[in-house]
Symmetry: D2
Subunit: 406 residues, 4 copies
């Protein structure tokens, strides 16, 4: 009598690590269902990845096109929230993890699988993001993290691969460890591990260097509705297409390179090199349009929400009640963020140079002008200043901390 194997769903990338994981999981008694999520990682041949999984031993190999869901449900919140981790990183990898797990759990349930496997190491953020999502979506699923468990040197991994007929990349291997999707590309490794080393030219994949970019600036106009870009230079475009198009345009102008020392959730600092050309353009425009359309108090408090949301996403807690409550604030804040922003792209720079909002501009030229059209009540300022400064005035009268005491 045959015992039925336990089924496991593996987040598969086509690379050596997750390919080696397939025989390794089979050795542990699993029937492996490999799943590749297409979230717009550039230059990947999904067909050959799908075949490779079967070739190295998966019982099923599934490719899921998640590009639109990724753009609409995972990138869109980041745009609305101006979400930049530590002021710089637009959360590229952190965004794909919860979507990948969502799909893997669905496939696990459809196939009666009892476990999920992911290819993260034990010192990065992604293991937390993957496992947080698994715990939230189905805490009964067990988790395998082969790469974290291997404890193999590179040589040992290659030996194991050869023994199990896993194709090993020929020639000098890439010194880089890349993760990419629609929204950007992350690069870690080797030479970058010394923060005083500059990132070499071949560390970059989506952008040219500013020096190689065209000598002529290019202007683009982005149209937003409810905080999201809906048209480029007047042409309506769904979000995933907008991002692809802007990655190309802005990448060509050398825009979107990020080089930073970053605090990981697991407690270490790492040096990261990111590229996110479309993100740089869209987020610059979004922030500029908010300056025009958000009421002041809302504009001044929103960064507190943005900061919390950004850290929450980075830290793997996308599926959480705090995320939902923060997004309720963000969504409410975006209703009037409608209008156009003109941006100039030039040799690594992207700047908003003009902006308008027919329906929702709170800029009132008659209030702002210094011309005769001025409708602002300058008398009001006298009373305003008196009451605005009353607490600090009384404080100094009483305590004479900074005031002249004579």
């Amino acid at each position: 009598m045959m015992t039925e194997l336990k089924k496991i769903v593996l987040a598969y990338s086509g690379g050596l690590d997750t390919s080696v994981a397939i025989p390794w999981l089979k050795d542990k008694g699993y029937d492996v269902i490999a799943v590749v999520l297409d979230v717009g990682q550039e230059g990947k041949d999904m067909d050959s990845i799908q075949k490779k999984a079967l070739q190295v031993g998966a019982s099923q190999s599934i490719v899921v096109d998640g590009k639109d869901e990724f753009a609409d449900d995972y990138v869109a919140p980041v745009i609305k929230a101006n979400a930049l981790y530590e002021g710089a990183y637009p959360l590229v990898s952190a965004l794909s993890r919860p979507l990948i797990i969502k799909k893997l759990v669905e496939i696990a349930h459809e196939n009666g699988a009892t476990a999920i496997a992911h290819g993260s190491t034990g010192k990065g953020n992604d293991q937390v993001r993957f496992e947080a999502a698994i715990h939230a979506l189905d805490p009964n699923l067990s988790i395998e993290a082969p790469i974290r468990d291997f404890h193999w040197s590179r040589e040992e991994e290659i030996d194991y691969a050869k023994q199990h007929n896993v194709p090993v990349p020929i020639g000098k291997e890439s010194p880089y460890s890349i993760d990419a999707n629609l929204w950007g590309r992350a690069n870690e490794a080797g030479i970058l591990e010394k923060p005083w080393n500059q990132a070499p030219d071949d560390a970059w994949g989506m952008t040219v260097s500013p020096e190689e970019a065209p000598d002529k600036p290019e202007e683009v106009i982005l149209t937003f509705e409810a905080g999201l870009p809906v048209a480029l230079n007047g042409q309506a475009m769904k979000l995933s297409d907008m991002i692809v198009t802007l990655n190309e345009i802005a990448g060509k102008h050398g825009i979107g390179r990020i080089d930073k020392i970053e605090n990981r959730l697991v407690g270490i600092k790492s040096r990261e090199v990111y590229e996110a050309p479309a993100a740089a353009v869209i987020m610059t425009a979004h922030k500029d349009l908010e300056d025009l359309t958000l009421e002041r108090d809302l504009a001044h408090f929103k960064p507190i929400i943005e900061g919390k949301l950004t850290n929450l996403i980075y830290n793997g807690l996308w599926i959480s009640p705090l995320f939902d409550a923060l997004m309720a604030f963000i969504d409410e804040s975006q209703k009037m963020v409608n209008g156009d922003v003109k941006l100039k792209l030039y040799k690594g720079n992207v700047h908003a140079v003009a902006r308008k909002s027919a329906k929702n501009s709170l800029y009132n030229e008659d209030l702002a002008t210094y011309t005769a059209a001025d409708s602002f009540d300058q008398e009001a300022a006298v009373g305003f200043i008196k009451l605005w400064t009353l607490p600090t005035t009384v404080y100094e009268e009483v305590n004479h901390v900074h005031s002249n005491k004579e």
Copy 2:
């Protein structure tokens, strides 16, 4: 018997508005002491300004060199606090106001003056900053704000000037209203009042356009001690000199232009065009070095303090107990911010490309590396993830908001 005139100390700039204010204040029965504060506003001839005040009727005209005090006591906090109002504006004008008033109040006390006059209009932020400082430093001083009170058209002002022998600028007058100091330059007016208009070339004064900047990048190394830059390319330099030097270097590379819609304290949105080349370089380097040297929790909370401090300064409350408490936090946070940052300047871009801190780097290559030198305990992650995600896991087990409910 002659009645002695009441003395007033006027914040004098040499321009038409504050020049006209002198006869106007004399008409109100004041003896006018004109004071110009040299805070590094470029291209101003302090001698001729000093003489002009006397010529149009001031009884005394005093020039105070405030450059070092401005840099050390007013700009330094902004550097340490990464203070950018609404994420962009390094508080240029907001910084000089409390220093100007400090000096004016000292001069008032030395000369037995009973009033201070400033040249702000009734719809800007500066009136609040001036008057908040006066109230705090000596609430018994009365305040005159002639420009706010004039209610004159341009023609009426010129007529009044001619009648009172105040020199009127000949020829087509500048369409711009400029305020400048060491730390930058603010420009408002006319054509800029339409947010969809692009800022014309002559709106800029400290920077060339990126297109006109050199085709060759330039690298500079800034050395920091306790959060402040102390050497440029290895050469020790006091802060005011550092700023002057970097304004020139970075301005030449087209760095530091800011064009934004801004929320003023008095309740309106305005369109502002700023330049701050040295600020762009120093603040980019400072933030980058903090990424290397600040402990994570401190790094993640500091932006809350920074945001509050920035708004407080913008809103005129420099002299306040909250400012002092926030700065106590900031100063404490900067003790370990020591090291070097290498920056690349090129056609409008300034980016940190390398950083090091011999004594205080918290980047630990042995923890961060993916090589065999790895000293990070990957096993620890398993337990960490379990407890880190326990609250959201239990939440989903109980409430099934996002989890599969089958």
Copy 3:
């Protein structure tokens, strides 16, 4: 030919100030429509107030029953948000202002009135709350604030009243200025203006002193749905009835007295004496139930939102996009706040002594227990601690601030 008079809608209370305002507004050429809003202010005879307005000269006198709208739309957010200004004051008067103006503006529009009058003085918060709401709901309405404009001594006011046949209270007038509604009662004045004076017995109106309260404790059980109380001791009750009932029960036990120095928006500190018995009970229970049902990160961030919302309401900005965004967060946070809280009321104390939530309790006895049923993975803690403390550990290893340096 008769000129038609401009109509004005007056927020009328029946007291001397707003009664005198009627002839005063008529003298200014207005046809006065008096409106009293019944928001549950105890012990007021609405009929006689309505008649009095007509008697002193109003052309119309309208009583609006706003009790349910007040409870459901204005008090409910305060409960969900645990909104206590400066940690103590449940925003009693601040809540009725936007509702009063909403009704007055509606009546103004129905009657073609062009102005609104309110009875606030020039040094309180209420003038801001009234006028902020008027500006937001219809900036074309002009505003009259007779009490702020009178500049009358008490004697002058009484003389004016007598001349205009406005009834003047006979005998020794009350030393107190009271504002009350369903949610509580505010008292300012005379003897209370010295913070070292204790509030005298007759300063209180809704509560007995703890000493006079019953010697026997009373237990009540409040049932919540989505953050709002829906049943008392198992009996379903609409919110306005719940508040009335609890005011009586808790007031009898001496619960809900507040005596504090408060920072007003207009820049001064005032000494306030409040009573809010139902608020004390409901808010104690609500917070306790949140401790049981809110996920930790949500629970720890919500106070930031609560604090901002509370200040916004106190400061008159109920009608604002920031309010709407904050409430979107709060409403989202309350979905699981369902369950029962048992409270003990005794001589001024109200404490939660037990709580349960059949569907949404996140307290998991199997995780929390120290008995054999323990399902918590104690091994996980070792790894958790290692990574949790890694940033501060590395910080000390590098910088030796607190560590032994030998």
Copy 4:
């Protein structure tokens, strides 16, 4: 040849768990130095505890009197910061942990010990607090946590104790697990693990029930300097004595009982019963005096700092650069918190009823009064309101969210 034993310093309490730990650590090859820190835990006989450690096998037994250091260096920050975890818990146990470790590390260094042992379980917060402090103060010390490692049932522990001549408490054992110090007492266990169970009478140790408290209220006056209480009813007293005295006075009045569901750092909710009578009195008075002496903006921002500091302490990160920066803010904020507060204690209640500050009161009766002495400029309010509400007014004019659209 004799191998020298490795020395370990054990945080010893005298209870069964840490007594059993001594032979257990000896079995692991350690020479055990037992250290008891006297932080004012009531009713403990330090002499007999010291002897017991030797009797069960410690090579040295040391009692350290830490009461004043505990009060001055660990409790004082909590007073200044109004630090109440989740709004209720004054951090009793969280405060003693870093002091205990500080002493243990000193003793370890003096004695050449290479390890520290603590008696925490694997599911509480204290293990984190102990180990965070050890890592920070000397990451080279290894850590033993016997109780977390035992995995013993109660019976197994008693068997082990008997085998190793560790005295086992006779008779029915206490159902409670208590941790106490000067600042309060924490109680967990058994019956309390069901949140719907009320805490039984014998769960409390420092307070009588309000019903048993005296029928006569008692007034006390606390005098503060720089945010700390320095005199009680006019009698100067060092902080540790103040706390002891107030524990007795307030405990007698039934003050300071706390019963709450709490979120632990390790991810679970627990039900805790605390007593902190002196804390209730001192913190009530401190907050009240801050209302009188803190400038408004400082008062309104300080809770953000307080909340962060409180969570940091609860979460074991006392020794951290963020703690130091937050305390720099707090210390700066307290300079003017000088004055007297009169409190009424009665049957579980403690309320401030009067307050004064000769030098630093910011309450200005001439500004606050409604009498003829009024010095407040009521005209100023008109201008203030206009500018204060301008952003929301413009928002509604443009967007008509709440306003009448006719």
